[in-house]
């Protein structure tokens, strides 16, 4: 005999009212499928995840002025990157040797892109990220290198950062990516969600090693901490994301036994690394006003500021997570413009 006659209903009204219908369908679908993939015991249904993920092949023929191809940059870890380049439709069909001819532009921004997915989901060849990188190329007239970093829970901290670092070193040493003005590769790091977190950590490593990164772009970066912030409590479950799933992903990424004040999760928390006097790149931090971890993201921006670093915060009031996945809202265009200005400031 049931002792509870009530049916628990989820109120999805909030999320439905702020995003266009196709965005709602897309992100809800992710939410649904991601729920199916996370197991309570901390394991992840990787086979199903790969099956469900919509992937696209690279295309060396320019489509809308962008061509793409895949390169394995580390055979040891099978680390793959997908490279996107601006190209004109009437250029002759490139062959493999052409890919290593200098792009030959006076100032060529090269954006190393880390896709999102909370460290566990998606790949460089996921449809949503392939199209986003193409848009970045078109928008910024840049080369984009999308890194297919190793994912949690199979590969915990610091694998994703190691892969990012490998990619940075690789990009930095490509002669064909050099800008002719100063014979250097003009590198920017960009990423959304977990990718944003990777950006920060790779930039840290770059600063320690003397590789110059010209700028960091963090889109809805994934940060957290032990404490429950006001925004987490206020927005829990309202706009596609729950505190519960955030906790799961941190448990999957951080070393076993660690908590969310680990510096990878909470860079300006009690165990954070001091950034004062570090030659850290300028940062563009984009925060969606309906993202439940915004308090951590805002704290990150504040932390950079307090450490005397150059940071620009773009707070998008009514944006939810994933707003940049479909170009059907103002925030998308605002952010694209900002990113473009950011990477082309010295062109």
């Amino acid at each position: 005999m049931e002792d509870n006659n009530e049916v628990n209903e989820v109120d999805l009204t909030d999320s439905k009212m702020v995003v266009p219908l196709n965005t709602w369908v897309l992100i809800s679908n992710f939410k649904l499928s991601y729920n199916l993939l996370r197991r309570p015991d901390g394991t992840f249904n990787r086979h199903l995840a790969e099956f469900l993920d919509r992937k696209v092949a690279p295309n060396a023929n320019p489509v809308d002025g962008v061509l793409s191809f895949d390169v394995i940059i580390d055979k040891g870890t099978s680390l793959l990157t997908r490279i996107y380049q601006p190209a004109s439709a009437d250029a002759p069909q490139p062959n493999i040797l052409d890919f290593h001819k200098p792009v030959g532009v006076e100032v060529l921004p090269v954006i190393i892109f880390f896709h999102g997915g909370s460290f566990a989901h998606s790949s460089a060849n996921s449809g949503i990220y392939d199209i986003l990188c193409r848009r970045l190329v078109g928008n910024c007239k840049a080369v984009v290198v999308s890194v297919n970093y190793r994912r949690a829970p199979e590969n915990r901290f610091p694998c994703a950062y190691d892969d990012g670092w490998t990619a940075l070193k690789w990009v930095n040493s490509r002669s064909w990516l050099k800008s002719t003005k100063d014979s250097k590769v003009h590198i920017y790091l960009a990423g959304d969600s977990s990718g944003g977190n990777i950006v920060h950590n790779v930039a840290l490593r770059a600063a320690e090693s003397g590789i110059e990164v010209l700028g960091n772009i963090l889109l809805n970066p994934m940060f957290g901490g032990l404490e429950r912030t006001e925004s987490e409590e206020r927005l829990d479950g309202k706009y596609f994301v729950t505190i519960q799933d955030r906790d799961w992903y941190w448990r999957a990424f951080l070393p076993e036994g660690e908590d969310r004040d680990h510096p990878a999760c909470n860079p300006f928390g009690p165990r954070g690394i001091r950034l004062k006097d570090v030659k850290f790149p300028k940062s563009l931090v984009v925060v969606a006003g309906l993202d439940l971890v915004q308090d951590w993201q805002l704290a990150y921006a504040k932390g950079l500021e307090k450490a005397g670093q150059d940071v620009k915060l773009l707070f998008l009031d009514k944006a939810t997570i994933g707003f940049y996945l479909l170009p059907n809202n103002d925030h998308f265009y605002t952010v694209m413009n900002e990113i473009s200005s950011f990477v082309r400031s010295d062109c």
Binding site: N5, E6, V7, N8, E9, V10, L12, T13, K16, L21, N22, W24, V25, L26, S28, N29, K31, L32, S33, N35, L36, L37, R39, N45, R46, H47, L48, E50, F51, L52, D53, R54, K55, V56, A57, N59, V63, D64, S68, D70, I72, S78, L79, L80, S123, A124, N125, S126, G127, I128, D130, I131, R134, R135, G138, N148, L325, L326, P327, N328
Partner: protein, 540 residues
């Protein structure tokens, strides 16, 4: 380890990826462009459906997360790009019966009548906020219980709409659609429910797409024709009115019929022929037909007039036709009709007067104005046929439940006539337009403001008309004609001189006739029907 993991989902869509400026406006049957770029194929018209399914899955997961996770691991999923099928297969594979998705406030009734009849309706208890009981009774999905369930859900949905809770209404619509898949939608409650669910769906989800005419006048005319053929209502209306007009024209040599809605002029051949056979010979017959203007430059009114003239000529009836094109009945002014003082006038309104009952903040309803000038024409007879229903109540829920009952009977009666396809479906579409207007529209857009005979009686008497008995002849002949043209189950009834045609015990259409009651201070006389004093303009 492979660089890109399981490549089961690799598609070659990169080469066909649309430009980043893919139009965000897609036709309903086309795939949503932005989702397609992301690798998901969903038709624009399916977006809402998929969204609703996702929402339901969300609810399922909240309530029984383990089931779905199990399914996800074990099931074979074919094409994750096809979002619509994927969410549907997840939903259907989950071990739920519809009853698990109850909403608070829906009480499951234990009736066993398959179709709502007068008795069933009276017994349905009012909606209360009590939690749902006895889930188990509905687990075996029986046709009858599903039918009753559908009715309950429809009413609950209407109640949510009335309260303005469109989110809940939307959810209920989704549940109903699912339940519809388990009932027979070819007849009975399944069929009617389908139409009402569609109408509610329009009202809740796409209110901007609902116009007052719900389609072109031309389409309407076509559907009217099928409705005319498929069931006896319009034939009854025409026949009864003609009988009364014939009697009213007795002894007059010049007669003028004003038809408020000519349509195809289907009513008039019979009258023309009856007048031709009149002892003493036919009168001069003038017919003024009112109808909407033709959009494509044709003069459809004139075309119909010509055909009727041809018929009149063939039976030696002197005939003159005039068409008056007006998009709204209230735009017609008496001078357009050119009534002559010498003629006996019959005003014929088949399901038109109710369209004049709408009003908004800017103007009152034109019914009184219209009835006023009709009276001033000094007609010998005004024949009025109207739907015998109360679909003009202010409260949405009341209106909705009335309409549900009314149209259930109408659809049942249509079923009994056994029209062939596609005629039957087209006839149903005619009815569906009425339903949509009653359910979806408000203000001036809502033209199907049916009121019962008792209300029309009051209205017409107030306007200076008195009832004309339709006579026992009319009744007998109507009954006889019915046996020829319809089916078992139809019933003609006489009520205070008016005739109704209905299905079993429920009258669905009422025909009445009226004459002008002399008012004490009337200035209208036989030679001055418009009551104008000192006119100098030609008024013939």
């Amino acid at each position: 380890m492979e660089p890109y993991g399981n490549s089961g989902g690799v598609s070659s869509s990169a080469s066909s990826s649309s430009s980043s400026s893919a139009a965000s406006i897609t036709k309903p049957h086309e795939m949503d462009g932005y989702l397609a770029e992301a690798g998901y194929m969903v038709r624009s018209s399916d977006l809402r459906h998929v969204a609703q399914r996702l929402e339901r899955l969300e609810n399922v997961m909240v309530n029984s997360p383990n089931d779905l996770a199990h399914f996800a691991s074990d099931a074979v999923i074919y094409n994750p790009s096809d979002l619509a099928s994927w969410v549907d297969s997840l939903l259907s594979a989950s071990d739920l019966s519809i009853s698990d998705l109850d909403f608070p406030g829906v009480i499951i009734n234990n009736h066993h009548t398959a179709l709502p009849t007068a008795d069933t309706w009276a017994e349905i208890p009012p909606i209360s906020a009590a939690p749902p009981q006895n889930h188990h009774q509905v687990t075996a999905v029986m046709e009858e219980d599903s039918g009753i369930r559908l009715v309950q859900l429809l009413v609950t949905c209407a109640e949510s709409v009335q309260r303005g809770d469109l989110a809940l209404a939307g959810s209920i619509i989704e549940t109903m659609r699912a339940l519809l898949t388990r009932v027979n939608t070819d007849c009975g409650i399944g069929k009617v429910a389908g139409y009402f669910i569609d109408a509610l769906s329009r009202r809740v989800f796409t209110p901007q797409s609902v116009g007052s005419d719900g389609g072109s006048a031309h389409q309407n005319e076509l559907l009217y024709h099928y409705f005319y053929e498929a069931c006896p209502y319009l034939k009854f209306a025409h026949f009864t009115a003609n009988q009364a007009i014939l009697e009213a024209f007795h002894g007059h040599d010049c007669v003028h019929v004003i038809d408020f809605n000519l349509m195809h002029g289907l009513q008039w051949p019979a009258l023309i022929q009856a007048l031709a056979l009149r002892p003493g010979g036919p009168p001069l017959l003038r017919l003024t037909g009112i109808g909407p203007p033709s959009p494509d430059g044709r003069d459809s009114l004139r075309e119909i007039g010509l055909r009727l003239a041809e018929l009149a000529r063939s039976v030696n009836v002197r005939f003159a036709f005039r068409g008056v094109a007006a998009s709204r009945l209230e735009d017609v002014k008496p001078w357009m009709l050119q009534v002559s003082p010498k003629e006996a006038v019959a005003v014929n309104s088949i399901m038109q007067l109710h369209r004049l009952l709408g009003s908004d903040s800017n103007r009152n309803s034109p019914i009184e104005m219209m009835l006023g000038w009709i009276r001033n024409l000094n007609p010998k007879i005004v024949t009025v046929v109207e739907q015998e229903a109360d679909h003009n109540k202010a409260g949405f829920l009341e209106r909705f439940t009335e309409a549900l009952y009314y149209y259930s009977n109408m659809f049942d009666s249509l079923e009994a006539c056994g029209a062939m396809q596609p005629d039957k479906t087209l006839a149903e579409m005619y009815i569906q337009r009425e339903i949509c207007n009653v359910v979806c529209c408000e203000g001036l857009a809502r033209v199907e403001r049916h009121e019962p005979l008792s209300k029309w009686r009051t209205r017409l008497e107030l306007a200076g008309f008195s009832p004309l008995h339709l006579g026992s002849n009319a009744f007998k002949q109507a009954s006889m004609l019915l046996t020829l043209f319809s089916a078992e189950g139809y019933r003609v009834e006489e009520k205070e001189g008016c005739l109704t045609l209905g299905w079993h015990s429920r009258p669905l259409i009422a025909a009445s006739a009226w004459q002008v009651m002399p008012l004490p201070e009337a200035t209208a006389t036989a030679t001055n029907p418009l009551g104008i004093v000192n006119h100098s303009a030609n008024h013939v």
